[in-house]
Amino acid sequence: MQDNDFELIKKFLEGDEVAFNLIVRKYQKKIYWHARQMLGNHLDADEVTQEVLIVLYKKLKDFNFQSSLYTWIYKIVSTRSLNQIRKKKVKNFFSMDDSENQFEAEDPKDIVADIVNREKLDLVNKALQKIPPKQREIFIMRNYEQQSYEEISKITGKSIGGLKANYFHALKKILELTNEKK
């Protein structure tokens, strides 16, 4: 997979625009779902997904082939998602909206058509939005993306011990919150 990614990057850097399309098609869903879980709604996730792909297009020339493309993309998604959360917090601070209810309203443009999945996603999202972003991020990477602590450490730059502690707290809170809802 990594060799194929490197091949695509090289082609893109040589001017092959189709190679970029292939990279996008390969990673767009992973980018979207990570952002979606982090941000809790489709509109923000869509914005971050596009931002990440634009950054990818502009910065691929700086890719140093030291890590996998997957790790590198996740770094961008992670940073952009956390930035978006900060932006929203600032926005909510200055607006009259009740920040507690920011994720309550149903997203009219939600792309999840299946009702069962949608309900499950809503339940998880509501719980996830109530834990700190750093814990949320690790919970998502461990639980949904099945990443090892080593991989998460490469992406976030945090120590493995710190990640384990964060995951423990995240698990505890999420289970409490979802048990309450049930």
Partner: protein, 207 residues
């Protein structure tokens, strides 16, 4: 919270030391209650997990790339405008400096300036008109006629028995316009002229 939940979560988070882990696993092998509690927590976590991403509208994912491409194209345009905006004054300044330093003004203008000063200081109006504005002595109308004489040299078709001066009259004299020239011809003459004109024209076309 169940009594072992904290330990179970530590175990699942890989937060236990090696000795704690060994101890926990020994207990797990012996205690059915602990095993059930671990299963409960695990199933709770699994209920939140998506083995596959939720089924979503594929049209959305199909549309991402075109939208990204569109945004990139817009950014490129904006960047070009931005650069143009910032560089235009610099380019203009450089151009002006180049003209001042290397432009034709330094070589040519002093010559004209000297000539102008000579004319103003030393030469009378009459001399100026005689020596410097000689071209203006000729009739502007003549110059115009010379320039446009080619357009007036109409080619008369071969075999057409109309005198050249008829054409000249037709073109030079305002009174002798096409209508007055042709009105003087009889119907039969007109017919001949028409036939000759059309045969001459068709021959020219065939050539």
């Amino acid at each position: 919270m169940k009594k072992n939940e904290e330990r179970i979560l530590k175990y699942l988070s890989d937060l236990m030391s090696d000795s704690e882990r060994n101890q926990f696993e020994k207990e797990l092998a012996l205690s059915e209650d602990l095993k059930n509690e671990l299963n409960d927590v695990n199933s709770g976590i699994n209920s939140l997990r998506f083995t596959e991403p939720p089924e979503a509208d594929e049209r959305y994912f199909a549309g991402i790339l075109p939208r990204v491409r569109e945004k990139l194209a817009k950014e490129k345009k904006r960047a070009f405008r931005k650069y143009a905006f910032y560089f235009a004054p610099s380019a203009a300044a450089i151009l002006i400096f180049s003209l001042i330093l290397f432009g034709p003004e330094n070589e040519i203008v002093p010559q004209y300036r000297e000539l102008a000063m000579e004319v103003i200081n030393n030469i009378s109006d009459k001399e100026v008109s005689e020596n410097y504005f000689t071209q203006l002595e000729s009739n502007p109308a003549d110059i115009y006629f010379q320039k446009n004489s080619d357009e007036l040299n109409l080619e008369i078709p071969d075999g057409l028995e109309i005198k050249n001066d008829s054409y000249i009259r037709l073109l030079d004299s305002p009174a002798a316009n096409e209508y007055s020239t042709l009105s003087r011809l009889s119907d039969s003459d007109l017919e001949i002229v028409y036939e000759k004109l059309s045969s001459a024209t068709s021959q020219k076309v065939l050539k």
